[in-house]
Symmetry: C2
Subunit: 405 residues, 2 copies
Amino acid sequence: MIGVAQAVARLSRRELSAEELVGQCLAHIEEREPVVQAWQLVDGEGALREARRIDGLRERPPLCGVPVGIKDLIDTFDLPTEYGSPIHRGHQPSRDAGCVRALREAGAVILGKTVTTEFAVYTPGKTRNPRDTRRTPGGSSSGSAAAVADGMVPFALGTQTAGSVIRPASYCGVIGWKGSFGVVSLAGVHPLAPSLDTLGFFVRELEDVPLVFEALTGRRLRPAAPPRRFGFCRTELWDRVEPSAQRALEEAAQRLALTGVEVVDVELPPGLAEAQIAIMGAEAAVSLRGEPREQLSQRLREMIDEGFAVSPERLRAAHKLAGSTAFPLVDAILAAAAPSEAPLGLTATGDPALSRIWTLLGAPCVSLPLLHGPSGLPLGLQLIAGRGEDERLLAAAAYVEQNLH
Amino acid sequence: MIGVAQAVARLSRRELSAEELVGQCLAHIEEREPVVQAWQLVDGEGALREARRIDGLRERPPLCGVPVGIKDLIDTFDLPTEYGSPIHRGHQPSRDAGCVRALREAGAVILGKTVTTEFAVYTPGKTRNPRDTRRTPGGSSSGSAAAVADGMVPFALGTQTAGSVIRPASYCGVIGWKGSFGVVSLAGVHPLAPSLDTLGFFVRELEDVPLVFEALTGRRLRPAAPPRRFGFCRTELWDRVEPSAQRALEEAAQRLALTGVEVVDVELPPGLAEAQIAIMGAEAAVSLRGEPREQLSQRLREMIDEGFAVSPERLRAAHKLAGSTAFPLVDAILAAAAPSEAPLGLTATGDPALSRIWTLLGAPCVSLPLLHGPSGLPLGLQLIAGRGEDERLLAAAAYVEQNLH
């Protein structure tokens, strides 16, 4: 399965039709979906119809009909949106989310809705990791990561409040991109913790990132200067990272330092992960309190209760810490994307801890599938830039990919 | 027209039926609406039907059928929601916003949708100030403030991103309450600037606040200790306050100091209002970029363009300033709610400047209709407490009302 940039190139030269590309995706889904279960709903007919419509245009929109999967936390006016909860079974929104509308206008074809955990929190959906189906794909953007990793679709949308893009990208071995907080509208995306919720996406090639970014935001990611100085940040949660993953990261930092850039250890003030937990809990409790409690999972009910118990003092301290934490003077930070390769089992989606700090800071992050765990499964290398420095992040990612691949 | 608490008391004793109360509201609206124009849509039949249903219950929900007006920025599954824009004329959401669902469950009767400015920004709707119909009611929650001020409905919902609850409350002479950021879910409320958007409401009596707060949040506002120390904060925008309003506030602070509490001058670091403008602009540009540009007002297009021009550096500095600003060591701050009484004219909704700082800090605020301008029109006295200190704010408001009324 080709990536977004390659697809656009071939579609725009009419070497491939959108209808053919959608057909390839559907054929692959038909074969693999019984095992991977990435999709909440596949709209084959609707996608083929839209692909044919775009094929028939003389002036085609920029994405020329590239298919996309939409996390089922994101409203679509023509397909049900269930937020990963039986409470909303069959729920049909009346409007597209802002990001969906933007993608349609840019010429993407909505292939269907991908599986999300319950309200984008902990309780998994049915999806399995396509690299090893006994393992979790991660969450909450489980289906989007798995579908892109398996080659069912060139790109898919996800959302991140703690680690819901970076972690599944790491576990499934794809590129997960979560831009700076506030760059993409969240209108029509079910809120979890509004001061943290951020849209992201999954692709297989780094060259796809600017195309999807521009389709979503209308802004071009202009080329930033190549990076000269990286920070290596173990974070206060380094002891949660498995020794083999610690070694893989240390080694990556060392290899990077041999390529002619500076790599310095950086530290952030303690308490940021804890601050993220306080804010996420308090805001999620508010976002979800209207849902009928008896139809929520036990785990989610506990999270809501804990969220309501966060004191105003703790919440204020958390916001203050986040607001006063400066990004280190480096082009980008190198850090773990997840504590390990994808864990065995499908009853949990793994630990988002290693993304909490960066989401809290509103920082753009990307997970690159450059490392491996002891079972030979993928492990992401996470790069982070300062908030608003999405272009610097892209330049850093390109450098790391070229030099560590 | 009676307030929420009084209505609940009489309804619960069956001295009044919800049907009668709704009927009184509808009669008043029929008489006054041609002049005030507070409503986008009144659902008389639906409201009467729901009132009768609640009247027929043996165990009635806490609000016992008190009618409410909903700002037309907030989704209702059974009434169109147009966001103050011709783009969404006739738009019918498929779900209730979280706050609407909470109110229905608490036994409020949705009387209709109230006028909002275009997407809750600057361009006014049709509403006039009921105290003087040549004057603006303020915005963006124009219809909700005017409807409550005119006695058309006991309470109504609004939202505030800069000053959209406090300013219209000040201009129309009602109580406007905007709680701490993040206390009420904004699911189903059209986003403007998600890190600032906050739900609020209008009532005519302070005793109504805890009832509405509890209906919206499920949390009781427990009585806080009476205030002992107030701060008087002129803010860096003091020269925007008209001399007569400056005098009214100085005098109020002096009178307050004579009642046995301490009143101290407090200052905040400079730049907070500017920071709010940067954040609001940048986030609003993202929220609204998907709307067809040619159908937006000129003023809104300019705001979107300015928002996209906010640099990442400026945005980061703004968040940092907001996050690192401590609330002064006082029970509550006394400040201006608006620069003057309601200005003449209906082509603009007045200046939100004096609320920007408090909204940025996520602080709970209330405007009390205790002062007057040179034309004898109402002028709000604003009280503000630290983020999360909604109970302290309520105690301070009760004290000020008792002692300065």
